[in-house]
Amino acid sequence: MSEEVQERPMPTYRQVAAKLKELATERGEWAGFPMMVEGLELCLEPRFPYDLRLKPKPAAADDFKIVNSWFSSRLRCEVVVGRDAAGRARFGYRAMNQAAFLIDTMRACDAWLLEAERSAIDKLATMLSHRMFTAYMLVGAFLETSKRSGVTYMFRKLRPTLALRPDGDEGMRILCGLCLHPVGYYAGTWAGAQTPTDDMVAHLLMMRGDEPKFWANANQHHPSNPACGL
C-alpha cells in the first residue's frame, strides 16, 4: 500500500493551485484559498476559517516564542523579544537581508496562477490613466496623489507602497512603506497570497476609497528597513 502511494506522482504547484481555486468557488470563499509553498511561512489574516499552513517543525529546546519584534535603524537589524521553554524572557537580533527577501519572493511565484495575474492586470487597466498603466507595465510602478491628504503614493509591484510628501522646493520625502496583503502573505518576502497585481489593486482601492483605513491596516515600514524594499 505504502509503495503504491510512493509511486503516485506528486501534484505540481500549478495543479494544487487550480484545485484550491475550484474548492474556493465550491465553498463560497470569494477571496480564494491561499497556496502553501514549501519553505515559506504562510501568514493568514486572523479570521480566516481554514488553517492552510504547513505543519511547523517540532520546537527545539533552544527555541523561544516571539512576543515582540521591531526594526532598529541604528543596529540595522530586527530586535526580537520572546520567552524560552522555561518561561524566561530572552532577546536576540535577527538579520534582515534584502537579498533573502528577493530570493524568497521569487520562490512565491509557484503560488500564483498566470491567468489570475492576467485578469488582475486587466482590472488595473480599467482603474488607471493610460500613462500610469504604461508606467506600470514598463517600470512595475505608478504614482497617484491623494485628493484627501495630498500624499503621493508610489504603488510598486511586489514591494510596499511608498508614501511621499513634498519636502522643500523640489524634493520629496519618503514617509514610509505601506505593506498590506488581503487574505495572507508569505513571511520574509514581499509576496502576498493574491497575485502581485491584485495586491496593487487592493492598495489602490483602499487608498482611493478609505485612506485612513489603508494606513491603519497596513504595516508601516521605515524607509531604512530592508522590508520597505528600497
Binding site: 475550484e22 470569494w30 477571496a31 482590472k123 498603466f133 484627501r148 491628504s149 502573505y185 482601492l205 483605513k213
Partner: protein, 136 residues
C-alpha cells in the same frame, strides 16, 4: 492587415485596453480573488432571482468582513459602510472626497450628529470587493 514593407502589423496593446475602458461603466460585483485574479458577478436588474442572489452574495461578503468600494457622487471611489438588502442600496459616506480640515484630536468633537451618508443602488454601480487584510 499589413504594415510597412508588407509585414503583418502586430496587434496594438491599446486595443484590449480600449475594450476594458468600455467595461469600466458596467454594473455588478468584482471580487479580487487568489485563483481567479478578478471575479466578475453580473446580474440583470429586472430578474428578481438574480437580484436576490446578488444581494445574498453582498451580504455574505459584508458578514465575512470584506471591504466593498463603489463610485459615489463625482465618480469618487468610496468604501461601503452598510448594505440595505431590502432596498438593494449601498450606504456610503457623503462627500468623502472633500479634504478634512486639520484639527488636533482634542479639538475634534466626539459627539454630535452622525456623519452624512448617501445611498447608491446596487444595480447602477459596480462594486469592487477586497478580502480582509492580513497586514504585511
Amino acid at each position: 492587415m499589413r504594415g510597412a514593407g508588407g509585414m503583418p502589423t502586430p496587434p496594438s496593446p491599446l486595443k484590449g485596453k480600449m475594450k476594458l475602458m468600455i467595461t469600466q461603466t458596467e454594473t455588478g460585483i468584482d471580487v479580487l480573488s487568489i485563483g481567479h485574479g478578478d471575479i466578475h458577478i453580473r446580474f440583470d436588474e429586472k430578474d428578481v432571482l438574480e437580484v436576490e442572489r446578488a444581494k445574498r452574495i453582498i451580504e455574505d461578503m459584508i458578514r465575512r468582513g470584506y471591504s466593498l468600494f463603489v463610485h459615489g457622487k463625482g465618480k469618487a471611489l468610496v468604501r461601503v459602510q452598510k448594505f440595505d438588502a431590502k432596498k438593494g442600496f449601498y450606504i456610503i459616506a457623503a462627500g468623502a472626497l472633500e479634504a478634512e480640515p486639520a484639527q488636533s484630536p482634542e479639538l475634534r468633537p466626539r459627539r454630535g450628529r452622525p456623519a452624512k451618508t448617501e445611498s447608491v443602488h446596487m444595480g447602477r454601480v459596480k462594486a469592487t470587493i477586497v478580502g480582509r487584510s492580513a497586514g504585511g
